[in-house]
């Protein structure tokens, strides 16, 4: 167990080191969120005037949603580094060593989660500069970050599983693009669920992206709705575990095909 954790840490270090050599990479992943934040923040400024909209400022409403959306956009690329490792033969080199498969999977997910954390903090800062204020305090921000990292880890696992099965960069990226936008628009990222058509409201209830956004919205209110936070975070954790299990299965399928 301790060796598995140590191996996992070494794998995380490998990715972090590559990232630190090209830190501007994160700027690339931030371009989209910034555009969404500033563009939609301006465009929909007056939607807060719609009856039924409880938030006072649209930018404050939007920022947690963009944090969640950005986590999906960046972790959806996770599988592409698997594809590179498979093409390069790095993956097989790891598989020939006695390192645990769980450590290979876990080490990469820890890296993805830390990237989500860094990215989320930057977006929160940008939202603050654009005028968003978070009344929920530090506790609500931590909850937002935890929910986002869970969703990001689930998404990264899914991306890795796809990479192991499809083994093509293009397929992994296409799957990411296909999933992120619909899931985002079927959540309360841009509008509260109460303003959606009934069928969408129904879908949103079972949309993990919506769980993460609603958990993140606790940053708006003065008091945290702990029962909502608890159930949604539990749902996200379950999703993350299922996706990690799927990627472990995909790993086995990959090895059988070698």
């Amino acid at each position: 167990m301790t060796t598995a954790l140590a191996s996992s840490a070494h794998i995380t270090t490998r990715y972090l080191r590559a990232f630190l050599r090209q830190p501007y990479y994160i700027a690339g992943t931030l371009v989209q969120p910034v555009i969404w934040l500033l563009l939609f923040g301006q465009l929909f400024k007056r939607v807060v005037e719609i009856p039924g909209f409880t938030a006072g400022s649209y930018i404050a409403f939007l920022t947690p949603g963009i944090v969640v959306m950005s986590a999906m956009l960046s972790t959806g690329w996770s599988g592409t580094s698997y594809v590179i490792d498979m093409e390069r033969g790095v993956m097989n080199r790891f598989l020939v060593s006695p390192v645990r498969r769980g450590a290979l999977i876990g080490g990469e997910l820890v890296y993805q989660a830390s990237m989500v954390l860094l990215q989320s903090l930057i977006i929160l800062g940008l939202g603050f500069l654009a005028g968003a204020r978070f009344n929920g305090g530090i506790a609500s921000i931590i909850i937002l970050l935890v929910g986002t990292m869970l969703l990001g880890t689930a998404f990264a696992s899914l991306s890795n599983a796809l990479a192991l099965i499809l083994r093509k960069q293009e397929s992994v990226i296409a799957a990411n693009v296909t999933l992120v936008l619909p899931l985002t628009f079927l959540s309360s990222t841009f509008l509260p669920v109460s303003l959606m058509p009934p069928w969408m409201q129904h879908f949103a209830r079972f949309n993990p992206v919506n769980w993460a956004v609603e958990v993140g919205r606790q940053t708006l209110s003065g008091s945290i709705d702990w029962s909502l936070v608890g159930s949604h975070l539990a749902g996200l954790l379950a999703l993350t575990l299922v996706c990690a299990w799927l990627s472990a299965r995909a790993f086995r399928a990959y090895q059988r095909s070698v």
Partner: protein, 340 residues
């Protein structure tokens, strides 16, 4: 209950006479009923270089994948130092090193980082690991390049780094899958020196796959020629060549003649020529004495108005061994497999 001698649990008791690698009727069938291996058996003695020689697609890499636990056999069994490669995977993994066909260097990390992570995957750490990394960098002439990102290293240097990574945990058996494919002649000569040194000085058992005849001839004490998933012949390079009688004659003709025409022209030389093979414009045969047979052969061709462009006489080579056992010239087989 049997009484067993007290032994450290990690070390397998290896007798000197026992082969280190044992492969018994290995079969591998891929989905779609593609038979990559059709019952391959061989064994490799401790501290020797063993070469699996064959054209691309013959099944060499499949054997290496099974022996290194990457892939499972469909039937048959294989063991490393007495440990079964399927049932005792973790033990086997600690005893073997693999240098795969494609370079497996992490291009975004430095040479030293590549080696260090590789050591960590085998549970090494601290001063022991640092020392091992430094000595391998030194040994492979990479000390000055240790802080360079692998992407900036030459192909030959990346290949050396691959070999160094395969050795980090001091394995008993090193698998080299096509170690010099794609290297320039200078880097290849360099790599050959290293491989020879591994067995000679380090007492390592080396299993090498190659589609270069000279490579097997130059490096291996023992060669198995593999073709279409089967070992067609096995032995020492000298022994295999000695089995062939006499010299090889090769005549390149100006144009491709009808085969029947040639056969007719050579009918009178039947008792002099053995193993006549016609392959495009190339006519090959084996003779007891090249010097006396060649003039007669050329005269016979001339009499039948078949013009020869070049003629060579050579002592037997592994190329001839391959031709003899598969009925095809090696270069031809390799080319056909490559474009398939």
């Amino acid at each position: 209950m049997t009484i067993q001698p007290a032994a450290s649990p990690g070390a397998a008791p290896v007798l000197l006479s026992q082969p280190v690698v044992e492969v018994v009727t290995l079969v591998k069938t891929y989905p779609g009923n593609i038979q990559a291996l059709k019952g391959v058996s061989f064994s490799v003695g401790s501290g020797t270089v063993f070469a699996l020689l064959g054209p691309n697609g013959a099944g060499k890499s499949t054997i290496v994948k099974i022996l290194t636990t990457l892939s499972r056999p469909s039937a048959g069994r294989a063991s490393i130092a007495g440990r079964d490669v399927v049932r005792e995977q973790q033990r086997v993994r600690r005893m073997i090193g693999l240098v795969a066909q494609k370079s497996a260097v992490d291009l975004e990390a430095t040479a030293a980082e590549n080696l260090t992570l590789q050591g960590q995957l085998y549970g090494m750490s601290g001063a022991e690991l640092r020392q091992r990394v430094a000595s391998l960098l030194e040994r492979f002439g990479l000390t000055d390049a240790r802080k360079r990102i692998a992407r900036t290293l030459s192909g030959g240097m990346q290949r050396k780094l691959d070999v160094a990574m395969g050795l980090i945990h001091q394995p008993q058996v090193l698998f080299l899958d096509e170690p010099t494919t794609g290297l320039d002649p200078e880097a290849r000569a360099d790599m050959w020196r290293e491989i020879a040194r591994l067995a000679r000085e380090d007492g390592l058992t080396v299993v090498l796959t190659t589609h270069y005849l000279e490579e097997a001839d130059h490096l291996a004490q023992h060669v198995a020629i593999i073709d279409h998933g089967q070992i067609v012949v096995e032995g020492t390079p000298e022994g295999l060549k000695a089995e062939l009688r006499g010299d090889a004659i090769q005549v390149e003709l100006v144009e491709i003649p009808p085969e029947a025409g040639i056969r007719a022209a050579l009918a009178s030389l039947d008792n002099m020529l053995h193993e006549v093979a016609i392959d495009g414009r190339n006519l090959r045969a084996r003779v007891d004495s090249g010097a006396s047979a060649l003039p007669a052969l050329l005269a016979a061709l001339d009499a039948a108005a078949i013009r020869a462009a070049t003629a060579t006489v050579a002592r037997p080579s592994l190329d001839d061994v391959y031709l003899r056992h598969t009925g095809r010239a090696y270069a031809e087989a390799n080319h056909k497999e490559a474009i398939r």
